[in-house]
């Protein structure tokens, strides 16, 4: 049986991302190691408390020769436009989390609104990555 262990998001700056994902979103550090044998590559993962078997890899955009300058610029450009991918989170209290995160300075792109599947809102991390935060309407989902 396959399970999802980690999923990666590109970040402009790992320290800035780490502060955002832990201090503002309340996630925990799962792994933070720097590997000298790999040119000081830093493997940095975070995850939500209570969901120990899943992590988000906060991956710095590498320079040449791992990633050529033009490709790096394209990735940065996609991120800044908000097209580098989306992480979908669920919660049991979307309004409460929305207010708490907003109070901590999280930049919301969508305030909570009713959707067919529940109440949904959206925000960005400092690198421009898109996040959805949803309180799923179990009654609707269970009808499937």
């Amino acid at each position: 049986m396959m399970r999802i262990a980690n999923a990666q998001v590109w970040v402009h700056n790992q320290d800035e991302a780490l502060a955002f994902y832990t201090d503002k979103l309340g996630m925990e550090v799962r792994s933070d190691v720097t590997l000298p044998e790999m040119g000081d590559f830093r493997w940095l993962t975070v995850g939500p408390p209570g969901q120990e078997d899943f992590g988000i890899v906060l991956m710095a955009i590498p320079g040449a020769p791992v990633m050529d300058e033009q490709t790096g610029a394209e990735v940065r450009n996609l991120m800044s436009k908000g097209f580098a991918g989306t992480v979908f989170l669920t919660t049991d209290n979307v309004q409460g989390d929305y207010e708490e995160l907003k109070g901590r300075g999280v930049e919301f792109t969508d305030d909570p609104e009713e959707r067919p599947y529940g109440v949904d809102c959206g925000f960005r991390d400092p690198s421009g990555n898109s996040f959805r935060l949803t309180q799923v309407n179990e009654a609707v989902v269970n009808q499937r």
Partner: protein, 146 residues
């Protein structure tokens, strides 16, 4: 109409705060404030509801996270101490030893290095681990054309 809220619900707010924001400089005073009670009253009520003092609850949360960081990261002991909301490395070391029976350094040494358990995939190792192209100078050597 005012809805009756069981007193334990206010205590739970304080407990949730300790779990969620342990990495900040929280103390029992902050937890009491979250519960809307005086410190002395709060400590008694918290212990009655959850079986341990709020100080102990907050500290064990910090110790649990510190132990995880020692196992899964290569951060220094001081950095781990600050990462879980504590300011004194000496107090941190004492608390850790009381909790786990060994110092943070000894605790870490009993586990494989964090790098060994980091799930760095082969594709990344191949990219980042290969020597820098210009370090070989092979293209400049006569044999490169052979």
């Amino acid at each position: 109409m005012t809805t009756f809220v069981p007193p334990a619900r206010h205590l739970l707010k304080a407990k949730d705060l300790a779990d969620a924001r342990y990495f900040e400089q929280l103390d029992v005073e902050d937890l009491a404030h979250a519960a809307g009670l005086s410190r002395a009253h709060f400590s008694r009520e918290f212990r009655a509801a959850f079986g341990e003092s709020p100080h102990s609850y907050l500290l064990t949360r910090r110790m649990e996270r510190a132990a995880a960081l020692l196992r899964t990261t290569d951060r220094s002991v001081a950095d781990v101490c600050f990462s879980v909301g504590l300011q004194s490395v000496g107090s941190f070391t004492s608390s850790f030893k009381r909790t786990y029976g060994v110092t943070p350094t000894a605790y870490r040494a009993a586990y494989p290095p964090a790098a060994a358990s980091a799930m760095v995939p082969g594709c990344i190792a191949r990219f980042f681990g290969r020597p820098r192209h210009n370090s070989t100078n092979e293209e400049d050597s006569p044999s490169a054309e052979a």
